[in-house]
Amino acid sequence: MSGAKGKSTPPVVKDSVRRGWRPLGASGDTALVPQARMSGPMPWLIAIMVAITVVAAAGALALGNMAASTSASIEGGVTVQVLEPDESERSRQVELLLPALQGLAGVVSVRRVPQEELDALVEPWLGEEAVEGGNVPIPAMVDIRLRGEPSSAAIDRIEQVIAPLAPDARVDAQASWLGPVFDAVESLRWMALALIVMLAAATSAAVLLAARTAINAHRDTIEVVHMLGGTDGQIARVFQRSIALDAAGGGAIGLAVALLTILALGLRFAGLGDGLAGQATLEWNDWLALAAVPIVGVFLAMATARFSVMRALGKML
């Protein structure tokens, strides 16, 4: 104690700064526990979880958009097919149907589907020759828009109106033949949601396990910090900060991988044309939601780490 020569009072801190009744600062917390990283593979585990979650969420959002878009385009739609084989009679029946349908209650619009549209619809299946030559009789179609979803009563009313005018005509609510498709899409969306929930649970479990391992590895240090007056919150902050860094790094990698996957899948789906699959697109707000996945992941991991660390510390004196 060479430096103590000539001094009778040890250089202890002043009353104003001792005992720590001031609010606890976080500035010195990082040094409390040595490199309290959860464990080596944690960022990679989080990267994988985030990547799968983002792809699953993108699928769910795209399917949702597809269903919404298709649903909007066929909302209140009823199609009348005039099946009369004779072309002139068919046209005559359609001309009679149009004003009769327009006068029905609940009908917003009635439109004869132009022949060009019908030809374009069947041409891929029947070929150009069959369509242009008129060798194959193509039913005439009348597109009706009703106010709201078409009820069976509304369909019955339409059938009663057209029966005397076009005996061979058939009436279909557009939603009815797309119903099974919507049901399948809805099932897929629920599956995606379940997958996301399971991934979140798996991530939390992994963080929980890693936090426990880290606490056990640093138990002696934690005890000393406790004995020096360190609070559970201060110690938990060290672990939280560590898992936040792991989760942020892993989340960024996972998001990048997922975005590349989504873009690649998007290019594949774009090749399917303008049909139902072509409407499975992502809007800008969907991209924002996907970008938020790693951020939510960071908070989830931090909350789990804090919960598990505080719980473990609570068992110590």
Partner: protein
Amino acid sequence: MTTASEDEIVRFDNVGLRYGTGKEVLSDVSFSLYPGRFYFLTGASGAGKTSLLKLLYLAQRPSRGAISMFGQDAITLPRDRLPGYRRRIGTVFQNFRLLQHLSAFDNVALPLRVAGVAEKDLRKPVGDMLEWVGLADRVDARPATLSGGEQQRVAIARAVIGRPDMLVADEPTGNVDPDMAVKLMRLFEALGRLGTAVVVATHDLHLLRKVPDSLIMRLDKGKLSDPTGALRYPPRKGLSA
């Protein structure tokens, strides 16, 4: 239960301690600690010295009896209030328990950091304290590179830097030469003059003579002998053995 008098900072009444279902390692321990007094805790190995120190630095709760610390019932003290009380206690552990990932400076600064002291406010006192214990040239050294005696001095500096109301030291001179042991006693005495109650567990009976006004707490098989009652009502300074 007897109530604590105004000036005693610690009061034990018939305190017993057992670990699990084993037999009591401390039985009917009763004493008081007063500010500025120096206490030596002696006894053979296994007498319960370390257990008693653990109760003092709040690392253990007793199995029975009553403990009052700084005017509060320490038995029922909620867990979230323990840190505030521990910051008033400086502890020198028997095996130092320095944090191996921190330098000597950071180890000594630790009690201040956990108490939320700003970096600018702790640099000077920590530097001065390291100089005081003769380690001014070892501030950046990690514990693994320090000798046993140097580690012990860092541990002592860490215990006293926050000017605790009570200092609890378990064999603080075990790893240092006799001259350094006396110097450390002088440090503890100086702290006592600032009002700190100092409790030093030691086997070294020669050390007892170095602090004339000290009181002896002698443990034998978990029982504290206090035939004169001095540990409850200490004589005025200058009159004690």
